[in-house]
Structures are given as C-alpha cells and as structure tokens.
Subunit: 507 residues, 2 copies
C-alpha cells in the first residue's frame, strides 16, 4: 500500500487558510467559480451536501407549521423603492433586467438586447418586497393570519469579490416569510426559527453556534430586530450562518398589508423573514475540514460509508466484488438518523488507493477496504474519517451491526471537536480599548494564539462606538443570548455597560 502523503491538501490550514479552503473545494470536487462572473457551479458532491441540508431543514420548517410556495424571480423596481432602509441595503449591487428580446444587430454578426421594458426588473436579492405584494392581496381580516410560508430559491446580489460558497453573485437559499396579527406572535416566530437554525447547525451540521441579536448597524435592512447564529471557523473568524428577522410593520406599511383586527380596526400586519443559504456548506468545510480535505458530518454525507474493493486481478476478483456488494446491501438495510444508511460501492476501474484518497478528501465518514485476506478471516478493515490514520479491523457482522453507532460517534466527535476549538478561542479577559486594539492587531498571536478568535466583552450600545471596532476590521457578531447581566465598562468607550457582546473578525 502506498505511503500516506504528508497531507492531501496543500497548502495546510496553518500555512494559508484561505487557499486551503479553495484547495479543499477543488480536491473534494464540490464546486467551482463559473465562467460567468461571480457565479458558481455546484458540483454533485457539494450539491449532495446541500440536498441533505435542505431535507433536514425542510422537515423542520414543515414541522413548525410552515408550507412551501414559490414567488417570482423578478421584482419591479417600484417595489424595491417602497421601503427606504431596504433600498439602502439592497438596491446597490443587483442584476437589472431592462430588455425582453434579443435581435440580430445591424451588421448581422451577433445579438443585441431589444424590446426595452417600461419598468426595469430586479433579479431578487431577497423577496420581502415581492412577497409583500401577495400578502397584501391575501390579507383582509385577522382570520387570514398568520401566513406561514417558505420558499427554496436562487437569489442574486452582485458580488465584486466572489468566493465559492461564501459570497457569490448567485446563491441558493430558503427564505421564510410570515405575517401575523400581533407583535408578540411575530416575535415568537422569529425566536422559533432561530431555534430551528440553531438545531440545524448544532445537531445536523455539528457546528456549535452562538445565538443572539445583532447590533442595530448589522440588522437586515428594514428589520426591527435581527437574530443570528454565529459560528467560529478554524481561522478564528466568525461566519454568520443564519438570520431570523422581526420586520415590525415596516414592510407591511410599505406594501400596505393591512387587516381588520378583532376590535374591527384596521391594523398593519407584523412580518418576519428568515433564511439560510449554501453558505452553510462553506461553514461545514471551514469548521470540520482538516489537512487531508473535507470531513462531512454523517447526517449530511451523501455517502456515509464507501466500500473500496481491492481486486488483485484474477479469479478472486469476482468473489471480492460479490462480497463487497453483499456488504453494501446489508449496510443499506441499517438505519442511522431515522433513514437507511447511505453506503456506496466504488466499483470504478481505477487504483483502490486512489479511490480511498478521493473519499478521504471528500470527507466520507467511513471507508471500508475489502480484500481477499479480510474476506477469508470474516473481517472488514475500515477507517473513520475522524481518525483517518488508524485502520480498524473487526468481524464483518459486528461492523455491520455497529455501523449506525459508529456514524453517531463520528457526528458527536465533530461537534465536540468544533465546540472545544471554539471554547478555547473564546477570550473573556480583555477589558480596555488598548487591550482590544492590541489583541486584534497581532497581540493574540504574540500571546501564543493562532488567531484573535472571539472576544467576549462589554459594550455600551452606543452607535458612535461603531467606528472604534470597525477601523480594526472587527465587528460585533451578536449580543449573546446568555447575557451575564453583570455591570462593567464598555471595552470600546470605557463607559458603564451591562451588555455582553461578541467581537470578532468575520467572513
């Protein structure tokens, strides 16, 4: 068997984290930047992860009483103009459709846009304004509320510096949109969906997250409150992984979503919106990947177990293939996470060692190698991706019987490793602005840390404190849900402060 290369991914995380991220995506064959500027092609392995995430989240969205629907891709410019803060936040960089026909140009060498639209259409960057138009026509009375909808869709936000899975001009997401008869009910909805996202991140993606509101300057444009889940990547930077917004009556007023309430008075509806996107796939890579490539949490792995037969060429080959097929079939009869185990037999005509390394780089939780000697002994040899160097041997039936237990263990290991990493990089000892400035400008590294990570410290909550962190490329990620409530001083201004905030550099 070929010698394990030092690392399958070059550069390593420590050498160059951004390049490592791109290399993992390439080596795991997950996606690539498209020939079309800023867009991405999501390849089967990357899309397979997204499909599993979709299924898990869609089940939860439905279990909390929502239904799926679909609204138009195009938003008339006048809709976008209705909500001032929204214009400010979203109207800047977006794709604008101005024509609906192509015609041969004058010299017949190509095509040119023709049939100019009376009103330009914006390719949706998010759908509050277009869905608001439907809500307006559907809502007359409090009896028509709540409306609890979700859509799976593509959205477009013109990106000047695209990065696969993290920031692309087009990306895929779900966006929930709800309308309620009272503020209290809408706030409950916002909180409920944040909890769904927390559960998705932690229980399915094995990504530990902090939850809490964003400071005002980081809110969704037009929102009264934005809650988020924030994850720490292995370079210590934060990734906003999902948001849930209470929009108050802002969008209802802009779109005129008015209903007659129980007191027979007209009232504007209270709306929410909430979304997660293919960015989560980037979060999985940056949370769990190692220097050999991706590591996929079993719950979202397109294949959870891959069987690689070692056929020496000769009479034994057919025996080995039959054994591998039977093993695959028996594994698929087992259940993990309520579903049949996804076991794949890699029967391609390439070298087994190359196969194995492909699956290691793709992050398959368990790779089984089937050779004649193991068959004769009634054993299987397998490697767990959470401990890729170690080759495990055991009786075949025992392995099959324990498959779902092994997958559950790996799922747990990934979460615990990620949580231990985050906790180790959560710093609570900084109290002054001098310390803050030093920490985010090389001080953390000088103190022996690989990165500044997250700093948990007090914040006075004043808007003009913003520039004090912004100039060091630091943001407040959230005001964590588990507030201590202790009195202290703002790390930025030195003023008295009670609020705990999470300060970090971010994607």
């Amino acid at each position: 068997m070929a010698k394990k290369p030092k690392n399958a991914i070059s550069p390593t995380r420590a050498e160059n984290y951004p390049d490592w991220f791109q290399a993992v995506i390439k080596e795991a064959d997950m996606a690539e930047i498209a020939h079309v500027r800023g867009c991405m092609v999501i390849k089967p392995w990357g899309y397979g992860l997204w499909e599993r995430i979709q299924r898990e989240l869609d089940d939860r969205i439905k279990a909390t009483g929502h239904e799926n629907a679909y609204f138009p891709l195009f938003i008339p410019l006048s809709y976008i103009e209705k909500e001032a803060a929204h214009v400010e936040g979203f109207a800047k960089e977006c794709a604008v459709v101005t024509h609906h026909r192509l015609e041969a140009n004058a010299d017949g060498t190509g095509l040119v846009p023709a049939a100019e639209l009376p009103e330009p259409l914006v390719v949706r960057p998010t759908s509050e304004t277009i869905i608001g138009e439907s809500f307006r026509s559907w809502v007359q009375s409090y009896r028509d509320l709540p409306i609890l909808l979700n859509q799976w869709a593509n959205v477009v936000r013109w990106e000047l510096r695209p990065r696969v899975f993290l920031r692309t001009t087009e990306f895929l997401w779900q966006e929930g949109h709800t309308a309620h008869a009272s503020e209290a009910e809408a706030l409950d909805e916002m909180n409920q969906m944040l909890e769904v996202y927390r559960e998705l991140a932690e229980d399915v993606l094995a990504i530990p997250v902090l939850t809490g509101p964003k400071p005002e300057n980081e809110r969704f444009p037009g929102a009264v409150e934005t809650l988020c889940i924030e994850a720490m990547m292995q370079d210590g930077k934060a990734l906003q992984a999902g948001t849930s917004h209470y929009l108050g009556q802002n969008f209802a007023k802009a779109a005129n979503i008015e209903f007659v309430n129980k007191d027979n008075e007209p009232e504007f509806a209270y709306t929410t919106s909430w979304g997660v996107s293919t960015r989560l796939v980037g979060g999985v890579i940056m949370t769990h990947g190692d220097d050999d490539g991706l590591r996929v949490p079993p719950k979202i792995a397109p294949w959870q177990i891959v069987i690689v037969p070692y056929q020496p060429g000769g009479d034994d080959d057919a025996v080995i293939m039959d054994y591998a097929k039977k093993l695959q079939k028996d594994l698929c009869k087992k259940k993990y996470d309520g579903l049949p185990v996804r076991a794949h037999l890699d029967a391609r005509d390439i070298r087994p060692i190359d196969k194995r390394w492909q699956w290691v780089k793709k992050g398959v939780p368990i790779v089984v190698e089937v050779g004649k000697r193991d068959i004769d002994a009634g054993n299987v040899a397998y490697r767990r991706r959470d401990n890729a160097g170690k080759n495990n041997f055991g009786p075949r039936d025992e392995f099959v019987g324990s498959a779902s237990k092994l997958l559950a263990e790996i799922q747990k290991v990934y979460f615990e490793q990620a949580k231990a990493f985050r906790d180790a990089n959560m710093h609570t000892h900084l109290t002054t602005y001098d310390e803050f400035v030093d920490w985010f400008n090389g001080g953390a590294e000088k103190a022996g840390h690989a990165s500044p990570g997250f700093v948990r410290a007090k914040w006075c909550g004043e808007r003009d404190s913003e520039e004090l962190y912004a100039k060091h490329k630091v943001t407040i990620r959230c005001l964590p849900t588990d507030q201590s409530g202790t009195e202290g001083t703002c790390i930025l201004t030195g003023k008295p402060a009670t609020l705990d905030a999470i300060y970090a550099k971010a994607y």
Copy 2:
C-alpha cells in the same frame, strides 16, 4: 347537511374549458398570476403537488445513475450565439440583464439602472449552452465520460400570453444534461429518460401518454432527435408533458466539448438533454379535474386523507376531536406507495361543510367526516373523490386497515378513466385531406364528438406538408412508438406513406 350545489366550479368544463381551468386553480387555491408580468405565484397546494412530483422524479433520476448539480442562472450572450439553431429557437423572447447596480436618479425621486455590463447576460431559458462550458473544461478523455447530471431550477422565457402552469415567463423544471463517448450510448440515454417520463406520467400522475419522436420542425432547437410524451386533455387538445433530446455533436461542437477516444483520436462528445416542468401540474388539472374542482392522484396528493370533525358545540366536542386525532395518527402509521399515508386533521374553526367542500375542490382523494353518531357506532363516514357524491360507511378499524387499498384504487380509477377518455377520442378512420380539414373545422363536433381529439393517420414525412396542417392550427404531436408499419397514403398530401402520425390541436 347542506344540499350539494349543482357544481362547485363555474363555468363547467362543457361550458368553457379554458375558464373552467382558471376557476379550478383559483378554487383549489393552487396558484395565481403574479403582479409581475407573466410570472406566477405558486401557492402551497399547487407547490405541494410539485414537491411530490419532484420527489418521485428525483428518485427515478438518481436510480438511473444521475446526480444533481447546479449551474448559473445567467448565460453570457456570446454563449447563446454559438449554436445557430439554438439562437433561432431561444434568443427571441428572453430576459436580458444589462446593468448590475441601481442608483438614485438625478432628481432623487427613485432608482435607475447603472453600471452597464460589458456583455449582456441572458436569464437562462434552458441551460445547454452554460452547462456545455463546464463540460468542456471537465472532459479530456473518454474516461471522463459519461457525465450524467440533472438540475432543478427556474427558467425564463418571455411569454406574451401567459397562462398559469401552462405558459409563464418564469417556470420551474428539471433539466438533465449528459455527455457520452458514443452516439449509441447517448441514444440509449435519450430513450431511457423518455421511459422515466412515461412512467412518471402514467404510474405517478395517472396520465396516459403517447411516446415517440417529434417531426423535425417540432424538435428542440439544435437537437438531432426529440422524443416526447404527449397527453390528451379533457378538451381533446394535446399537452406536451416532457421531452428527451439527442443533441448529437451540435452543442459539443459549439462549446468545444472534445475528448480523446479509445483510439487516441480527438472526438466531439455526444450530448443529451431532457426536462419536465411545472406544466405537469397543469396537465394533472386538465386530465383529472371535474366540475367540482381538482382531483389529485393519491401518489402526488399533499394530503391523501383529510379528516373533518363535526362538532355540534358542547361536551361531545372534545370527544370528537380526540377520536379524530387518534384516527389521523393511526392512518399515518399505514403505508401507501412505500411512504406513510399523508392524513390531515382539519381542526380549523370554520363550518365543517365549508371545510369539506374546500377539500373536494382541492381534490383530496378521501375526506372522512367524524360525528358523534359514527363514533358511537364505531364507524367512519368517508367520501372518495373519484365518487364524491357517495357517502361510504364502515367500521373504523376496517377503514384504517383498507386505507392504502382505497388510495391505490383511486389512483387506478383516475388512470383508467383518463385512458378510456383518450382511447375514445383517438380517431383512426380519416384518410383524406378533405376529411382532415372538415374534421378539425367542426366536422368532429357535427359527428357527435365533443372535440376533434387525436387523429392517427399516415404522414409522408415531407417538410412542405407542414403548412397543410398548420393552417388549421393542427400539429403533429409525435410519430408514435407503436408504428403499424402498414403502407398507406399521407392524409395531407395523398402521397404513399408508411409513418403513423398523431395529429391534434395542442396547448
């Protein structure tokens, strides 16, 4: 119990079929034309059907060895220009993105498009050209083939006369795209996917279809061969319900998808594409709907069984609700079509009779009514949507035990009714052009038929025969797979002809 109204849908099919279609969509609350020109809003009941169709088809697409992926929404104009026939077919009416920013206009009253793109982008009407660019970079050797991909996506074709589910500017679909090392393999792929579509239509949607190639003038722009499934709606018109194309090397040449074959020679790949869309939902409505609304085949019904409790108000109400809940729970434990039965308890605070009629109009296969008298007798009362007028009674446990059998029966009834209708409206006795002209211009109706339906007759296959049917708004729907092979004369030209063709008016 209120008297059954004459019909829940007005107008009836016989009175005005196109208006009946719109009325069913409205009364079943499936979708509506959006405020955005030509687009539609797919509401939860309509989207629920589409989700079931997606799941059934996606399973089959994967079972035949394909993987899902995702490609960009935007196609640079220059890609579209590469394939001449494709330009001719698709470049005419499409949404063109020309700017990527909005700016405040000069007087500050609104927004105007800014930042003009160096090259316009076309919102995909179909993705052969953009996917071809990826295939080109992925394919070097015959070892890289076949590539077997599918994507679920939205596409845009500017429609001047939109109609919900049948013809809208934006619609949802899946598009399969494959590349092969030989013509034979690509032809097998085209045939295989047509069979998948036939099975989807007949076994899942209960829509009988004819299969076969399109005549040349009806082929996909750029295709060498287009196979289709064709269904007959209840007004006798044809609906093209799915297509599978062999593209030869046309797109491979345009996009330069070249590989080194086994003989070490450069060769262009052989590609296919195939798709079905949300138009299938329109096909379900027009195949199975009746004058009381939609009838949904059980396999794609979002709810297969709905329970409507009759609570008179008083002490019994809680007993009735508990009984209904238990009934729902027990029904959900049963399996139909390999999945848990989808039973819903309608606990809304509106009149039971109104609930029942809503579910009738939505086409739920079985509606169960739970009242105190039935509970006391240990019975349930239920109505099958394939025989909505009849109220069935039976012991509760017997009903639960037979639920999946009842659903299977309804599925079968819908298919058989649709097939009987189609067979009765398939006319094979016409032989001359005079008969043809008469038949499609009132002759069928004079002969006692509700519509001309489908005419099966000979065709000489000559391109210039096209205008002879086109001027009567008739098309050749397909050259059916089950060719008789008999000699005869072309119904259009009178020339000797062997080919059987299906002539019909169509959507």
